[in-house]
């Protein structure tokens, strides 16, 4: 029974996927909402059948009226269940960063332009179906997918976070996610599939015992030294993650792009974080060490470059740079396939 349902679900998912990718933000139209009774709903159907037979057999018009009332209630509920998803605008951040062994946080935004509240909307990130994600991507999402539940009040937006536990380093491609609801009463289960890629870059867990190459033994002192934010060295385009106190408000007020002031510390010579400097460790351990160095350098606000086999990133600083480096680590080994 269960395997049959899984097979049917898989078939439906591939069938839904054939429509091609959806453009986000996407409005959920009535044609793509599926609805089926839940197990509770099937039990209710059984009870309803018994009620109907009792009413007919005892030839009781009142019992029949009550049975029909409950049956109609069920049918109305079906409409309401379907409506709970209908017309919602869905959007999602297409790229997510995470560390192995932690969780990836997929942030979905649901917009409800209508006057009715949408309680109990569940978003389920589905594991890639059979194809794709060979080897490294297999980390993470279990067969059931990861889910988050939320409620979208009338004329409002709601952010729903789906926490995806990711065990191993790698790049995870999610091709499909599912919106589902059992509201009201849990008799029906309405759902829809959205074909939209979400890439989860799972960086290696930041681990390692080696110190940053340049700082040598006096790592902590160097960190203190490089904290210098007195020397103004210019403006950079603002990236999320940059400290707000470095925001160049004046230039923003003049109508320019959001920019942040960058400062150079005393020891500001760029630092190369190199794969080759980590002899004696296996590949994953090297990647973990590199990851830790990247984070340490970032905290120290010191420019750094990354050099791993097949990829080199020029020294720089800031959040965008950090993400680029971490994603390189995450994708290590995948690109060469």
């Amino acid at each position: 029974m269960n395997s049959l349902r899984q097979a049917a679900t898989r078939k439906l998912r591939t069938w839904a996927a054939r429509r091609g990718r959806d453009v986000l933000p996407m409005r959920i139209s009535r044609r793509r909402i599926y609805i089926l009774p839940t197990r509770f709903g099937l039990m209710l159907a059984l009870i309803l059948a018994a009620m109907l037979i009792a009413g007919l057999n005892y030839n009781s018009n009142l019992a029949l009226a009550f049975a029909f009332l409950v049956a109609s209630l069920t049918l109305v509920t079906m409409h309401h269940c379907n409506r709970n998803l209908l017309g919602i605008l869905v959007d999602v951040t297409p790229e997510i960063d995470a560390f192995a062994g932690r969780e990836a946080n997929a942030e979905f935004v649901l917009r409800n332009e209508s006057n009715v509240e949408r309680p109990d909307v569940e978003i389920r990130v589905l594991p890639a179906s059979s194809t794709g994600a060979a080897g490294i991507g297999a980390a993470g999402i279990g067969a059931a997918g990861a889910a988050g539940v939320g409620r979208v009040s009338a004329r409002n937006d709601a952010a729903i976070n789906v926490v995806i536990p990711v065990a191993n380093r790698g790049v995870l491609h999610v091709e499909q996610f599912e919106l589902r609801t059992r509201y009201p009463f849990g008799w029906f289960h309405a759902w829809t599939y959205v074909q939209s890629p979400i890439t989860i870059f799972v960086a290696p867990a930041p681990l390692g015992s080696r110190t940053l190459p340049s700082t040598g033994a006096s790592g902590t002192a160097a960190t203190a030294e490089t904290r210098g934010d007195e020397d103004f060295s210019g403006l950079r385009t603002y990236q999320p993650g940059m400290p707000l106190k470095h925001m160049a408000w004046k230039s923003l007020a003049r109508g320019g792009e959001p920019a942040a002031r960058t400062y150079t510390g005393l020891s500001s010579q760029p630092e190369w974080l190199e794969w080759s400097a980590l002899d004696g460790l296996d590949a994953e351990a090297r990647l973990s060490q590199l990851c830790l160095w990247i984070l340490e350098s970032d905290v120290a606000q010191r420019p750094y470059g990354l050099r791993i086999p097949g990829k080199e990133i020029a020294p720089s600083g800031g959040a965008a740079h950090r993400f680029a480096c971490l994603r390189t680590l995450a994708a290590f080994g995948a690109a060469s396939d």
């Binding site: 057999n57 009142l62 029909f68 109305v76 209908l86 569940e122």
Partner: protein
């Protein structure tokens, strides 16, 4: 699965309690106690933060309870045993409830308990009450099934009411058009426990006394022809042929072979609306000729019986003739039976023989006996003294106080002892005319017993010995209503008349409920289809009509449910504005999504100067309605203006700015 909280348990237990209350009058007390104890224990445990009792306790209790139920009822089949078992199971389920799933199962049980209650009683109030229970249960279920944050009670109740209201049209369509069965799918077990009402299948003196004090309605009668005079209304029920000395028994429940009757007199056509009484007989006037009750038959006693006990309200259209001549002589075997006065009551038999010697003619003898009742101090009373053995002797010679049963019984014994075949007929006599509507009410207090004697050449002839001694007996019942205006009405009745009237008016409503709802059947569905001008209605067409009606209601439902999604649905001004935009879009000027009302009006004015004045003022009304404090134009006025607005038909030469202008000043003052 998630543990359930005390409040969840309490709310579902409250719903269960409400559903069980509908059964409390018919449930054995021990069932109610067990269920109550189970609920109390579980709630007590939950109050202390505990879970359900351990599994072995639950299992033991379940086995015990099922065993006790079986020992008590000897069956699980049938309504009383089934209901008791269902109630007990629900109590046990509550006791073991520890997950959400258990609660869901309890809600399903509650729905089923509601149906079971409606199988037992057909009251309008019960239906209303149970719909209320259904509403509360649904609201509780909504709270249970909705994820956090848990919706508050008030919105849940409102939402439940809304869904119920939306379910009503669908329910009506199903109820009106769902094909009904002619009879039950399988024979229903005879419920030995279900309360039989009215007459019983034997008659002992004193039986009818209890009925005489009951105001319960036995049946109602609509006459399609002129009704017979009330004193002629003898509603025939079970007939008794054998006498044990105390009790009359054994109606000849065999179907009659052939109608050997020659019917005479004006035909009475009428509809008997029988209340369920859990017996097989159906009451009708003598002598029944036609009836439209499927599978019903006339017995050799000329009583109408159905194969199943009457457990639902039924309507029977019947035709009767007041006089009948029996063309065939009575069989010798039957004659022996009808002549047997029994071995008891020697003094009565002696009396019969001595009277018979003085009055050799059958009819003479009958009048002699009746005269004896009339002239000797025989009293008619509702509280006769108790009689033991030789009851007829005791009654005739000692107590001389009795009710119709005593007189009918004594008369039959006298007749038989004198060689005239006689039998006792029970049924109802008379009725109350409801002058607020055109029908008669026959109550249990109209229950009566009389005799029939076999006269050679004529057949069975009705004799009512009770009327001989107490003519006021027949008179009294009729005086309830028929002669309400006559001078014979006693004074106190005049005072209580408004009360009687109120009662009759109430009965009109009850009768309406009965007629329109309780006895709704295949015939009613056919009449309904005739009203819809569907030729030759039959079951197949009914299914088509049902499908079509369902399709229509579904379209309505879809519209009704999705309508609320429209962001403009709740604001009439916004809805009207959307109409205005649609009209302009039709004229080739669609509103851009980013455009506010004023910007849109400005652009329209630029592109269609002929519409400028109208559109600008309309858009201003809209802005005022939505954003200005109340005052100025109302939403309804705005709608009228928009409705009158015809962008497609307005030519540059026909601009009538004055049409909307005069209200400009008022609207702007409002802002």
């Amino acid at each position: 699965m998630e543990r359930v909280s005390f409040l969840d348990l309490l709310s579902i237990a409250a719903c269960l309690l409400l559903a069980l209350l509908a059964h409390v009058h018919s449930l054995p007390v021990w069932v109610s106690i067990i269920v109550a104890v189970c609920g109390a224990i579980r709630l007590g445990l939950a109050w202390r933060g505990g879970g359900a009792p351990p599994r072995w306790v639950l299992l033991t209790v379940a086995v015990l309870v099922i065993a006790v139920t079986f020992l008590r009822f000897r069956t699980f089949n049938g309504l009383p045993a089934g209901t008791a078992l269902l109630c007990l199971m629900m109590g046990l389920k509550l006791l073991e409830a520890s997950t959400r799933r258990d609660m869901y199962i309890i809600t399903l049980g509650i729905y089923f308990l509601c149906i079971a209650a409606l199988l037992e009683s057909e009251s309008f109030w019960l239906l209303g009450y149970l719909v209320g229970v259904c509403w509360l249960t649904s609201a509780t279920l909504l709270r249970l099934t909705t994820g956090l944050p848990r919706p508050a009670w008030r919105p849940s109740l409102r939402y439940g009411a809304r869904i119920l209201a939306q379910a009503v049209p669908l329910t009506l369509v199903f109820w009106l058009l769902f094909p009904r069965l002619g009879g039950p799918l399988w024979a229903l077990p005879v419920d030995s426990d279900s309360a039989e009402t009215g007459l019983s299948d034997s008659m002992s003196p004193g039986d009818i006394t209890q009925l005489a004090q009951s105001d319960e309605i036995a049946f109602r009668v609509h006459f399609l022809t002129a009704p017979p005079p009330p004193q002629e209304m003898y509603w025939r029920g079970p007939v008794f042929n054998d006498f044990t000395g105390r009790t009359w028994k054994d109606s000849l429940a065999v179907p009659r072979q052939n109608p050997n009757l020659q019917l005479q007199g004006p035909a009475y056509r009428y509809i008997v609306s029988l209340e369920p009484h859990q017996h097989t007989w159906v009451f009708a006037l003598d002598w029944l000729q036609q009836y439209n009750l499927p599978r019903a038959q006339l017995t050799a006693d000329h009583t109408l019986v159905t194969p199943f006990a009457v457990s639902r309200a039924v309507d029977i259209t019947a035709t009767s003739f007041p006089h009948a001549n029996f063309l065939l002589p009575m069989s010798e075997q039957l004659r022996q039976r009808e002549l047997n006065p029994g071995k008891a009551n020697p003094r009565t038999r002696e009396l019969a023989l001595s009277l018979r010697a003085q009055h050799p003619g059958d009819m003479e003898f009958v009048s002699a006996v009746l005269q004896m009742f009339a002239q000797q101090p025989y009293f008619y009373t509702l509280t006769p003294p108790k009689l033991a053995d030789d009851s007829v002797d005791k009654f005739l010679f000692e107590t001389k106080r009795g009710f119709c049963g005593h007189y009918a019984s004594a008369f039959a014994v006298l007749m038989r002892a004198a060689g005239i075949p006689a039998r006792v007929v029970t049924g109802y006599q008379g009725g109350t005319f409801n002058h607020f509507s055109d029908y008669w009410i026959v109550r249990q207090s109209n229950a009566h017993a009389w005799d029939e004697i076999w006269i050679e050449g004529r057949g069975w002839v009705r004799v009512d010995p009770t009327s001989a001694i107490a003519p006021e007996r027949v008179e009294r019942d009729v005086s309830d209503s028929v002669s309400a205006d006559t001078a014979t009405v006693s004074h106190w009745r005049g005072h209580a008349r408004w009360l009687a009237d109120a009662r009759l008016r109430l009965d009109v409503l009850r009768e309406l409920w009965r007629e329109r709802v309780l006895t709704f059947n295949q015939d009613s569905q056919e009449r309904l289809m005739e009203m819809l001008h569907i030729p030759d209605p039959d079951g197949e067409k009914l299914v088509f009509v049902l499908a079509a009606a369902l399709a229509l209601v579904f379209i309505w439902l879809t519209w009704q449910v999705r309508r609320e999604l429209d962001p403009h649905s709740t604001d009439p001004a916004a809805r009207t504005y959307a109409k205005l935009c649609a009209k302009l879009a039709g004229a080739g000027l669609p509103r851009q999504t980013h455009e506010g009302a004023e910007a849109y009006a400005a652009r329209v004015a630029e592109q269609r100067p002929d519409l400028a004045a109208q559109v600008e003022s309309l858009c201003r009304y809209y802005s005022n309605l939505r954003f200005a404090p109340p005052g100025g134009l109302t939403a309804a006025q705005f709608r009228t203006l928009v409705r009158a607005f015809r962008p497609g038909h307005v030519r540059p030469g026909h601009v009538r700015p004055g049409h909307v202008r005069p209200q400009d000043s008022r609207a702007s003052r409002g802002s």
